[in-house]
Amino acid sequence: MIDLKINTTLAEKILTGFIKTELNRVGFNKTLMGLSGGLDSAVSLYLSAKALGPENVLAVRMPYKTSPQETLDDAQLMIDDLGVQSMTVEITDMVDPLIHYYDDMDKRRAGNIMARMRMIVLYDQSVPFNGLVMGTSNKSEMLLGYSTVFGDSAAALQPIGDLYKTQVRQLARAIGVPEKIIQKAPSADLWAGQTDEGELGFTYEAVDKLLYLLVDQRYPPESCVEEGFDPDFIEKVMRRMRQNHFKRIMPPIAKLSQRTIGYDFLYLRDWGT
């Protein structure tokens, strides 16, 4: 049976504890994150504010000139709702010189440049704010590789990385994210009219169920067909997972010595803390 329902009280308890403990043990009590006006960053923001207190959370709005005013307003709605710290850094003047530097620029490259510029802004602001950058990636997009490597995927902690998009939506409702944000079509907002589901070619509702069988329940693909999934859909999703695995791991180090980082030099991030 495919049941993606979660106990949101328990999820909130574990994830707020995770945020607080994993910041504190490396000497921090503050966090900052980009706030797009979408669902994932909203959930990371609400969890962080609950874990650390709103005064210890900085929401950064980073619009490009084409970003709709509505997304900025949605972000402001949440900033006001929580009373977190906030700032707005428009990235247009930072990314346009690079975008216009090449004649053959396309919208995908431009989108990646924007995602990476937002990462630079956040990591720079992490110094004066004295906080760590909170991740906003969910399990669906991580498995599908629907992210910009070293862009939106760059973060110190990933609190919602083991929740599928449809589960993030359940959690959002429980922790007080405004219904308007929850109802919006998911979008990376890298160009006008972009939606995740339009670009991916399937809905999160459908793919989350398939991913749950393939990943969580270890179903072989042929068993997913028996469960009623279309073989082409299964193949497409499995190919995306495989091709984008590089985004989920550290770059391989060519082994030469007796002891090599990642192979036989093994410590948790929390080493000594």
Partner: protein, 284 residues
Amino acid sequence: MKIKIALAQFNTRLGDVKANLEKHMERIDAARKQGADLIIFPELSLTGYALQDLAVTSALRPHQEDPVYNELLHASKDIDLMVGFVHEDRRHRFYIASAYLSGGKTLHIHDKVYLPTYGMFDESRFFAWGDSVKAFDTRFGRVGMLICEDFWHASLPYLLWLDGADILLFASASPGRGLHESPRLSSSEWVEHTNRAYAGLFTVFVAHTNRVGYEDGLNFWGGSTIFDPDGNLVVRAPDFETSLCIGEIDLNQLYRTRTRLPILRDERTTLVQNELERILNIHD
């Protein structure tokens, strides 16, 4: 005879034995003040759990010459202790171990037999496995210790029961997993069901301490418990919270339960032996 058992669930500093020793001493002191006779610490309580390459540098040799261990021996003069640590033997093999200390002496050391090395676990990459399980005598009667995966195998609690243990002491660092609609994680529910089942099936006391806190993305769910020989809950510590939870058990209940329900009396160990020999082809 009634005894008070303290279950010490807390977070550890990963690989920092001295910092963790301090946490032990604070809890030993608090348990003593509350009249506890025995305090049980979680698996690898002196080191933290996901040690990887820290396993060898945080190990100790359990005797007086080791300053950390010696401090624990001293502390055990007026309260019994079960502590978790990395046990380095004379030939530099490293075990996940729990020691039972009482009256300034080590009564028993159990080296973890079953090292989970699947899924999220990688224990046998870093540790040697223990190769025995034995009950031992304490001032409260005969006791058996197991560590986490050890009690996911029914054979070890069974052997301890046959070896005379009336109190089973379990230590774990159990990572929480399995988020569904239920108010508790699947892992929490599974462990608690199992511990209750051992208590009832073997008509023994089962006291379990599980740690709390996080190591990287792993959460540890706490929820330490004591079950009595009827399978009833004596005490349960809260999930996910640091706690020193004290439960009182009445050892006379062993008499009452076993006169009503003589499962131990009726256990046919020779049949078990014969069938094991047949199954394992010992006489072929």
